[in-house]
Symmetry: C2
Subunit: 578 residues, 2 copies
Amino acid sequence: MAAIYRVDMSSLSVRKEEASEAYRDLGGRGLTSSIVADEVPGTCHPLSAENKLVIAPGILSGTGAPCSGRISVGAKSPLTGTIKESNAGGQGAIALATLGIKALVLEGAPVDGKFHRLMIDADGVRIEPADDLIGKGNYDTVAAQFEKFGDKIVCISIGQAGEMRCSAASIAVTDPDGRPTRHCGRGGLGAVMGSKGIKLIVMDPTGGQRPKPADAEAFKAGAKKFQAALSSHPLTGGGLAKLGTNALANVINEAGAYPTRNFSDGQFEGTEAISGERQHDVIIERGGKIGHACHRGCTIKCSRIYVDENGQYVTKGPEYETIWAHGADCGIDDLDAIAQMDRLDDDFGIDTIEAGATIGVAMEAGIIPFGDAQQAIGLLKEVGKGTALGRLIASGADVLGKAYGMSRIPTVKGQAMPAYDPRAAQGIGVTYATSTMGADHTAGYAIGANILGVGGSVDPLKPEGQVELSRGLQIATASIDASGLCLFVAFAVLDDPTAGEGVCEMLGGFYGREFSGDDFSALGKRVLTKERQFNAAAGFTAADDRLPDFFKSEKLAPHDVTFAVSDEDLDQLHDFVD
Amino acid sequence: MAAIYRVDMSSLSVRKEEASEAYRDLGGRGLTSSIVADEVPGTCHPLSAENKLVIAPGILSGTGAPCSGRISVGAKSPLTGTIKESNAGGQGAIALATLGIKALVLEGAPVDGKFHRLMIDADGVRIEPADDLIGKGNYDTVAAQFEKFGDKIVCISIGQAGEMRCSAASIAVTDPDGRPTRHCGRGGLGAVMGSKGIKLIVMDPTGGQRPKPADAEAFKAGAKKFQAALSSHPLTGGGLAKLGTNALANVINEAGAYPTRNFSDGQFEGTEAISGERQHDVIIERGGKIGHACHRGCTIKCSRIYVDENGQYVTKGPEYETIWAHGADCGIDDLDAIAQMDRLDDDFGIDTIEAGATIGVAMEAGIIPFGDAQQAIGLLKEVGKGTALGRLIASGADVLGKAYGMSRIPTVKGQAMPAYDPRAAQGIGVTYATSTMGADHTAGYAIGANILGVGGSVDPLKPEGQVELSRGLQIATASIDASGLCLFVAFAVLDDPTAGEGVCEMLGGFYGREFSGDDFSALGKRVLTKERQFNAAAGFTAADDRLPDFFKSEKLAPHDVTFAVSDEDLDQLHDFVD
């Protein structure tokens, strides 16, 4: 039976417990959000001992279900003040599941303010000192572990930003190559890990056992059907492997929804130079790698290895959102400079979306000019130096914007918007406004139906139909985030009924009972309901489910549109919640 | 008939209008909060064109009622996100009332981002360029005006912090000596003035006419009765003139409620050196001045002129709150250093309470050590340089604390607590938690009954009776803030029924009708109801009416108490609001 480990950092003790009935069937976001909602006081300070950081593999993680290696981390967010779940790829979920761990619950806070390593193996969980790692970035931190413990281990770590408890700090998870490139980026969960005095978690799955589906046959049949659907879809069956997520750059720019220079334009004149096509050519030309899997068992393989002119490793990806954030949003069209910033973000441990958006606001504030890649890199390096300016960059767009007296700050609930302007893709605007976690494209990816022609078609420039679109996607996403499946499987699920059938059959096989599409939907609703309950206790109301004013008053070129979904319609989004 | 002037900074135009029926009887906080609640969208960004800055003299300002020179400034606060009214002494209220101005409503925002001067005289209101004043502190700014326009003028201005739109920026009002020493300090209203592109307002009351009570006889009788009560009370009749507000230092320290080193102790070992008694002796010895009136017509005269060892002017006061904030809260026991910081605060235009509390948090964050006066002065000077660190200091304890990953931040709704620890004076804790404007002692000064033996007696260390105490005080305070009377008249009003009768008779005489104690109370309830309505629209809930966790978990020496008023009881405070 999978266990929950509670690590009390106040007393530096570990307690193993069996999951209660209520948590037994849960995993991933379903489990992190339930524990946080049930156990963390809504009004507590996110960096205080009362907050809890919950780390959980998805329901299917470790089973061999294709693309099921997402690891969920949840807590009250220091960035948004809401409940937060942020998930990542990498090897973390598989390692935890193999060690029979349903969730790690990190509680309390160390009395002496010191940093520790959690060492997890078949013998259990141990708390060890990590003084030697203080001040190190994620790359050096994990390299030292692989040297010490061998290449079987998997690391979950924070960089300098997490140590400083800055609210854009991420949590890094190592990929199959042992690099700290997969991040639970959003919501500042690295700061919560820092506040718990945990610099890193090292897992050695040796001697562990993969979770076994209750009905192996049914599970296997579902997995096969699911993989067939993934393989036959143009995006999950090859498109994402070839061009990566950044295939979107040209598409979203063409649609006029590519936020440029801190959301002041919908098209960036430098898009071609930072597009997925260009990135592909540069990587191939230099001997990098495309079609890289961020975790074993991923068949989509959207990741890539970016190398410099000498063929030396620089960073993974970078992904579409990262390239946009450090590129178009800052008026920068230099792919190498963007890759350098991605590497710095991963090393310092900050969310690439928040970092880029914050630099964009810093540019609008006049700290450095738009388009100046070298000064942007310099600004980012301040994070590693721990200066006041660096801490502002690592604290996100809202905090920097407040310190510099800015009013055009593209955030919702304190979290920076990602790479789609909500005026030119109003469905994603609904998701930004109403998500339980602040502006987040992954919470309900309306870009599919708004722009990509995936999962239906809803006019991106008009308010009609967007709430219904976003609602359905937010529910389905919560289910997927609970399952441990990568969200990108949704491209196949939305277009091909057999993909969704495969998912339900895998879940049914895993549990050893019937699992219908309605059960899948009920799971998402259950998760969102928990999250809304937490947010209500934390003081969030409909007034927080709003975009910043300027999206309603400033017209976005080239379509000259404002965000037009009414407040009344936004307030209907969560009508399924009790 | 008194007029409302609307100054539209978007079109650089001025419109004069007669006060509507709903506003006719209002003044001060009653008027600012009503206009803000009626006209400003709750969810707007406080620094956007949608916010409005409303400046209004009190109902009785300019009439000759004793101590009636308070000027109210209101807006949506960039510090708290709530509605905000901050009032100050100085000559501003009398000047506006003499010019027949019931309220100035500053709207919109300048398209070109430039700064302007509002010139107000008997001919009306004009918008003029103020490019020559950019980057100047309040002292230089107003000195240049007196040189240019003569000594009849009164100035309302912002310093560098307001220009930078930092959220602890204050608005300065000149005193009878023409110095910018009286500040609407709390809530960052200087940033709102900065966002409107208004560097200063110059009023020349020449040719104006004092407001005339409708029933001059009744008014005069009320004023006489009121003044007699003020004169016969030990505090308002001499105590405050002699020792100033800082007479409290020893008293509050003795009570164990004097927050020390960022609210980690209730008594400061250096209190004697920064006490009101010591301050009195230093001022007298050096040839400064005690018993100074901050506006003409004040008979309490709690202000003072602080001079250096050569007898040269340094600053006014400093007041109790300022000396505590820069003193005990930072572990500093150097009165001259504190006076220097008070001068810097007034010159840069930042709230002295917020500035000191922010330095206290910076000390706990390890930026500089507790107790180091020279480094504290250095930190404050960063504000004038406009560095990232300076902007953090000028943005308040919450923003600096967030950038530095702190969880012990003594704020409510983003505003720093003043000089009374809520654990050792639980009534003021109720006020901090439930005030419509964040932690604010003036919103309901429970210290009277908790510690000073004024207005009853409620055990400061116990939760019982505190909500009732704070509720009554919050209602009465809202009435007083509407009247234009200085809050210090409350010492007499609470102890001597004839003082309250005098206030009602003055108001009755002013309006020319009966005005009962119930009418006075109804006025306060009306104001608070408006404010709560605004805050609800802005998204505030009961979850925001809470003290930070650490006041409930960390015991305060010497009484070893935590804040014990229950959430349920706190939620009863506003039960009179519809």
